[in-house]
């Protein structure tokens, strides 16, 4: 094959290959196949795998939580307070686990979140009923020891306060049961234990009422000299309620302790009119009814309630680039009427999966700097209102392009150094292009290197055989190895190319040389011409 033709074919084939490959080569999938999907399906081999346990543990956890209500109610009923404390601690731990799961799985807009809220309220109710039952037992013991006088009245007042409180707590607990059980059943969780707990707690509260009735104080109990009232009786997050009252016969300066949901909310004193007042700002408490009572020394007020109403929230998010890899996320968390939500946890959900925690300050503003890898990212701010009388909210999703670390100069430096080194090496060894003869030392057999003229006698020989003898003679004269074909000889000695090509036709195409041609070839072979 002629070198020129073979080069053209090679070039054409190479161009064709390059063109075919070029169409595919620009496809980034070749280099970083990630999250490949179409409208119909996704390619599992390019999708990130994750732990399967998260969602699978929701229903078992619901089961456990519901089961714990039953156990806890029973231990309260049988007055095994030590076991009840342990059960409550475990219940609280499971509830926290469930809260985290709801956030992680992004379930805040589902009925699972409703279940979570009810469960939290149930947990608080159980804690209150446990404390109240314990205190009630103490009062019963005290009543036996203290037979008359102010101390007995104090016991009766406190007992009455506890009775009312337990009743309120139980009523709220029982009211939540149908909806909570419905959600649980929908997901296949067993709500039997929870449903039974309602009956058991009814008995616990019933026992408290019986004891008070036994004292003749349940319905017709003497009014406590320590009064309490709340205005207004309901409010939303950030609003103020006024809790006040008087202590008939109380001495100015007498300490008064105000309890909200059995926890000390404020210590104050009676003023000159034997009254007290506490402006209560609704903060991080659950929505729903809350119990309030006050004590002054051993005297308990009656129990009163106020309602906290749930409010919607708004959360904003602004993302600003700090540098090539860091972005600053800021925003505000407010209620629907514009009140800032203070010191509240805010989650930044990056790329739908990764959760980063931050918190609002005293103005309801949060700020957090995130360091991200290069490429496109999505960020959303979320407020999961667990423990607040607020509804969850989430910001708009912000999509941003992070430039990422600039390309490291080292690979480029290394490539340049390698190229320079290779250049130097090739130059030193001698570039093949610059010395093509070195590749094939026999490529330029100089005619002068073999000037020995062979003797050839072609007289009387058939023309084709004569031509063969002349070919061998010329080849010998030029010092070309005998293994070379006529075509190779033509390439090696271009000055005699016509001779060799003519001989090639004689040898392979069967042509017969004329006498004149033979003479001409003889002259050339013997170098006479």
């Amino acid at each position: 094959m002629r070198p020129r033709a073979s080069h053209i074919i090679l070039a054409a084939a190479a161009v064709l290959l390059i063109l075919l490959l070029a169409g595919e080569a620009v496809d980034p999938v070749l280099y970083a196949a990630e999250n490949i999907s179409t409208a119909a399906h996704a390619d599992p081999s390019t999708i990130e795998k994750r732990s399967p346990g998260d969602a699978a543990s929701v229903v078992p956890l619901m089961d456990e939580l519901l089961g714990h209500t039953g156990t806890l109610a029973l231990t309260i009923k049988v007055k095994d307070y030590e076991s009840a404390e342990r059960d409550l601690a475990r219940y609280s731990e499971l509830s926290s686990q469930f809260d985290r799961l709801v956030v992680k799985l992004d379930l805040s807009e589902t009925d699972i979140a409703e279940f979570q809220k009810s469960n939290r309220q149930n947990q608080e109710a159980m804690a209150a009923l446990l404390n109240d039952s314990q205190r009630l037992d103490e009062l019963k013991s005290l009543e036996i020891e203290v037979l008359d006088g102010d101390q007995r009245m104090a016991v009766i007042y406190e007992g009455e306060a506890l009775r009312q409180k337990m009743k309120e707590t139980y009523t709220a607990y029982a009211n939540r049961e149908p909806e909570t059980a419905r959600i649980a059943t929908r997901y296949g969780a067993n709500a039997t234990s929870y449903e039974e707990s309602v009956d058991v707690l009814d008995e616990v509260v019933g026992a408290a009422e019986e004891w008070q009735e036994g004292n003749g104080t349940s319905s017709g109990a003497p009014r406590s000299p320590l009064t309490i009232s709340i205005t207004p009786r309901e409010g939303r997050y950030g609003e103020n309620l006024t809790i006040n009252g008087t202590y008939g016969g109380g001495i100015p300066g007498t300490p008064v302790t105000i309890y909200i949901d059995s926890r000390i909310a404020r210590n104050t004193t009676l003023d000159g009119n034997a009254t007290y007042e506490y402006p209560y700002r609704i903060g991080r408490v659950l929505a729903g009814p809350h119990l309030v009572y006050a004590t002054a020394a051993t005297i308990f007020s009656e129990v009163t309630t106020f309602d906290v109403l749930a409010a919607d929230t708004n959360i904003s998010l602004a993302v600003v680039e700090v540098n090539r890899t860091a972005v600053a996320c800021t925003g505000n968390l407010t209620t629907e009427d514009g009140r800032p939500v203070l010191e509240a946890p805010v989650l930044l959900r990056v790329d739908g999966e990764t959760l980063i925690s931050t918190e609002t300050d005293g103005n309801g503003t949060y700020a957090r700097t995130l360091v991200l890898t290069g490429g496109e990212h999505t960020i959303r701010a979320e407020f999961n209102a667990a423990g607040y009388p607020l509804n969850s909210s989430r910001s708009q999703v912000e999509t941003l392009q992070v430039r990422g670390e600039g390309l490291s100069p080292f690979p480029f430096i290394a490539a340049i150094a390698a190229a320079l080194g290779a250049g130097w090496y090739i130059r030193r060894r001698g570039l093949p292009e610059e010395h093509p003869v070195q590749e094939e030392p026999d490529i330029e057999p100089p005619p002068e290197i073999a000037e020995t003229v062979p003797s050839v006698e072609i007289e009387g020989l058939p023309p084709r055989e004569a031509a063969t003898l002349l070919f061998r003679a010329l080849r010998e004269r030029l010092g070309i190895p005998a293994s070379k074909t006529p075509r190779e000889c033509a390439r090696l000695a271009p000055d005699h190319a016509a001779f060799f090509e003519r001989y090639e036709r004689i040898r392979y195409a069967g042509e017969v040389p004329t006498e004149e041609e033979l003479r001409s070839m003889e002259r050339e072979a013997l170098g006479r011409g």
């Binding site: 996704a42 599992p44 399967p52």
Partner: protein
């Protein structure tokens, strides 16, 4: 032969191979000629173009149907079912519903964007389905990896999703307003007719995920006329047409051999 000639032949072979691959494959979804992840080239099945010649007692897979069946073809399918054959219709776009009506089936495919929380992959549409009823198709299979399936209504449920499945109407990947959790049936049967709301189970990328299920399917014939398993590429269709006709193949082979024979004959002379 000179060194250059060998190189030329080698490069030409490579170029020819690349060109052949290029023109005889496609990237069309579900195509039997698509060797990529979303094709069905690796599904072991025999292509069937004439529904009147189905093997009685065998299994026919109608995968991602997108063309109507004639009354005669529906008749063949009914006869096939009556004769003990099993038909599996895998569809996630609802295109199979007219055929289901014609086959007097109660089952319907309800397209949607089913997503699940209970999954091993980050993609919400890639999740497990649970086998809830015995069937030879699911013998030894407890779960099936589904890939953006559609819900199926009616019939006897064979595969259901977990309770944490929702129709992601807004496509944001999480359960939002108006989207509720609940179990969905993704495969149901009615006699010998099985409707699977996920044609993606048969794409190349999914075959290694559900090996036992694919094994249970065998031997299977696949409808190559009414579904997206074909191709719109005219070169592929021409080659397929030739492959299906032995005389055409013979003629083509002769056309290829003749020049070579002529060349050798001339040399010998």
């Amino acid at each position: 032969m000179q060194r250059e000639t060998w190189v030329v032949i080698l490069v030409l072979l490579l170029a020819g191979g690349a060109l052949y691959l290029h023109i005889t494959t496609t990237t069309e979804e579900f195509s039997r000629h698509n060797i990529g992840w979303n094709g069905t080239s690796n599904l072991p099945a025999e292509d069937v173009r004439d529904l009147s010649r189905l093997d009685p007692g065998s299994t026919l897979l109608i995968l991602a149907p997108d063309r109507p069946f004639t009354a005669a073809e529906v008749g063949y399918l009914r006869a096939f079912l009556d004769g003990g054959g099993r038909i599996i219709i895998a569809d996630e776009e609802g295109a199979a519903n007219p055929l289901l009506v014609d086959l007097e089936s109660e089952i319907r495919v309800r397209p949607g964007n089913l997503s699940s929380l209970e999954r091993d992959y980050a993609h919400p549409g890639l999740f497990k389905g649970y086998v809830v009823e015995n069937d030879t198709l699911f013998a030894g299979v407890e779960t099936v990896l589904l890939n953006r399936p559609a819900a199926v209504e009616g019939g006897e449920p064979l595969v259901e999703t977990s309770v944490f499945t929702w129709d992601d109407i807004d496509g944001d990947g999480h359960v939002g307003e108006g989207e509720t959790f609940g179990r969905r049936v993704v495969c149901a049967r009615e006699g010998n007719l099985i409707v699977l709301g996920d044609a993606s189970l048969f794409i190349n990328a999914m075959l290694p995920e559900n090996t036992k299920f694919i094994e249970n399917l065998q031997p299977v014939q696949i409808d190559a006329v009414h579904s997206r398993t074909g191709s719109r590429n005219p070169i592929i269709n021409t080659l397929t047409w030739i492959e299906e006709r032995p005389p055409a193949v013979a003629a083509l082979a002769a056309l290829a051999i003749l020049p070579v024979a002529w060349r050798f004959g001339r040399k010998r002379e």
